[in-house]
């Protein structure tokens, strides 16, 4: 059984993002880019499923500019077997991404498609569910535990009320939450080895996928500023401040 893991190139988790002064977007030039951390968890889960003998091939896929190869190389260095870059210089809408992934899933016929529950840049959290819908297969979102048994998977999900477990027939789409696993560090020899692995190049058009009508972003602004930073010296002072505000 194959696993297809979808990864996204995003501004690194540790970067404090800056809004452009003309409010046309967020500064990404000269900023460190990385694999979306939730997608790293998805790659790690695929590796663990392979190590447990549930999966025999891992295909890493991304949609993005030529440089998104770097994130595929990271996935390959972690242990993915091969990769596909669907190249585009346009911003990709979740629905378009889902159409691409569903198309690739139809071609590659993976038993499981894994991806992060959201990307930390646009925080939309749609692509996994949309892929499952278009592929007409089950979805198990926000996974914190994945057990594959034969033709189905039992997935524990992080929900607002606690944890929920569902069983889905395979193939299925699983989106990964924070506590599913801790991704491994990539070692230098693995990076070298990954250079020999194949990255296939294609495009949205080559796949015959129609881009979705976009949500037009007309303005990107910093959030309203908060006046913080006031300190109190003692618990008594804190209590009297809270009383003044009518909070206690």
């Amino acid at each position: 059984m194959k696993a297809m893991v979808c990864v996204k190139r995003v501004v690194d988790y540790n970067v404090r993002i800056q809004v452009k002064p003309d409010e046309s977007g967020v500064v990404t030039e000269g900023v460190k880019m990385s694999m979306n951390p939730f997608d790293e968890i998805a790659v790690e889960e695929a590796l663990r499923l392979k190590e447990a003998g549930k999966i025999d091939e891992i295909i890493a896929v991304t949609i993005g500019p030529q440089q998104a190869q770097e994130q595929l190389r990271t996935a390959l260095a972690m242990g993915a077997d091969r990769a596909i870059l669907v190249q585009t210089d346009e911003a990709v809408q979740p629905l378009t991404a889902a159409r691409v992934f569903a198309e690739l899933a139809g071609k590659e016929e993976p038993g499981v498609v894994l991806m992060g529950k959201q990307a930390i840049d646009d925080d939309q959290g749609q692509t996994g569910q949309m892929t499952a819908a278009l592929w007409q297969r089950p979805q198990a979102t926000f996974a914190s535990k994945v057990e594959i048994e034969g033709e189905s998977a039992k997935v524990t999900r992080e929900i607002d009320a606690g944890l929920e477990t569902i069983e889905v027939d395979l193939p299925a789409v699983i989106t990964t939450d924070l506590r599913l696993n801790e991704p491994r560090y990539v070692k230098l020899p693995d990076i070298m080895k990954a250079k020999k692995k194949t990255i296939d190049n294609t495009t949205v058009e080559e796949l015959g996928v129609e881009a979705a009508k976009p949500l037009k972003v007309t303005r990107t602004a910093p959030p309203p500023a908060r006046q913080g930073g006031k300190k109190v010296e003692s618990v008594q002072e804190l209590v009297s401040e809270l009383k003044n505000k009518g909070l206690i």
């Binding site: 993002i17 992080e158 607002d160 069983e167 209590v239």
Partner: protein, 315 residues
């Protein structure tokens, strides 16, 4: 003029607060019709009745199917998509894990984009939403010739009032319900404390609290304040508290009147979950902790001394 459908979220006969907030958001669209769909496996009069009371709601549609017992996205999505064909221009749901799971599946079935996390309505198809953990706010314009699917950021809206009296109608939907997804079980952490998502006061503990055992001082202070209890990701990851208590970008996003952060350093991902809070209090022994930059009232102190002292001072 827009015709809005809200998907009700409910559990054990109770309508969720997220649904009231979605209705409140929908009012800003100035709709000619604002309807709520309640999907149940049986009964459901209490939930439908609660939805009918929400201000602005013009009709409640109750859809009964045995498959709807456990709110599975794969089961609900085709029913929602089918219902939407009935002339609706907008479909909204709260941005809870229920809504986040369901709505993209609906949008994909309809072949339309989704606006996640609406924080402000600027026009029938123009919305504000946060990106980068709320470190930037974008204004997005959706195509006006397609159904608009959206999830509503709970922290941005109060619940709709309860002075309405809409009619409740039983509705059949024609949808093929898949068998490939089955509910197994749910582990719900029961608590007598106010619900973290909607409590007017919240006390949260972080890694600084140090252990599951030590968390009792957080609970104790919360009980004295009548507050809900939350936690940072670090505290959840360390196993001090269960996952449903996590506040932040990927946990719960809340807007209490009072938020007390104890032993929390204040990573931007945590900040994303509390930036709409009224007053933020931080207690941390590290005076360099970033939480102090954003807290309205900061106290540099050992939490194991300050928290019991604070609790005592509230007597």
């Amino acid at each position: 003029m827009s015709k809005v459908l809200i998907i009700a979220e409910h559990d054990a006969g109770k309508l969720s607060a997220a649904t009231g907030k979605a209705v409140r958001c929908a009012q800003d669209l100035g709709p000619e019709a604002l309807e709520v769909a309640v999907f149940v496996h049986e009964g459901g009069d209490d939930v439908a009745g609660a939805a009918a009371k929400l201000d602005g709601v013009t009709r409640v549609l109750k859809v009964t199917d045995p498959a709807n017992e456990n709110a599975l996205a794969a089961v609900l999505a085709p029913q929602v998509a089918s219902l939407v064909q009935d002339g609706y221009t907008h479909v909204l749901v709260g941005n809870s894990t229920f809504g986040k799971d369901l709505m993209p599946r609906v949008a994909a079935l309809l072949g339309v984009p989704q606006v996640t996390d609406v924080m402000k309505v600027e026009g029938e198809y123009v919305f504000q939403r946060p990106i980068y953990a709320g470190n930037a706010i974008t204004t997005v314009e959706a195509p006006g010739d397609q159904v608009l699917c959206a999830t509503v950021r709970g922290a941005s809206y109060p619940a709709a009032g309860e002075g309405g009296n809409a009619e409740v109608e039983d509705r059949q939907v024609d949808a093929e319900i898949p068998q490939h997804t089955r509910f197994v079980g749910r582990e719900v952490h029961k608590s007598d404390r106010p619900d973290l998502a909607t409590a007017p006061k919240v006390v949260s503990g972080g890694r600084g609290v140090g252990s599951e055992e030590n968390f009792k001082i957080i609970y104790s202070l919360a009980d004295k304040l009548g507050a809900g209890v939350g936690a940072s990701r670090a505290a959840v990851d360390a196993g001090y508290v269960p996952n449903d208590m996590q506040v932040g970008q990927t946990g719960k996003i809340i807007a209490p009147e009072l938020y007390v952060a104890i032993g929390i350093s204040g990573a931007i991902q945590h900040w994303a979950g509390i930036k709409d809070a009224g007053t933020i209090v931080a207690i941390n022994k590290d005076e360099e902790a970033p939480i102090f930059e954003v807290a309205d009232l900061g106290l540099v102190a050992d939490l194991f001394e300050a928290v019991p002292e604070l609790e005592k001072a509230l007597d």
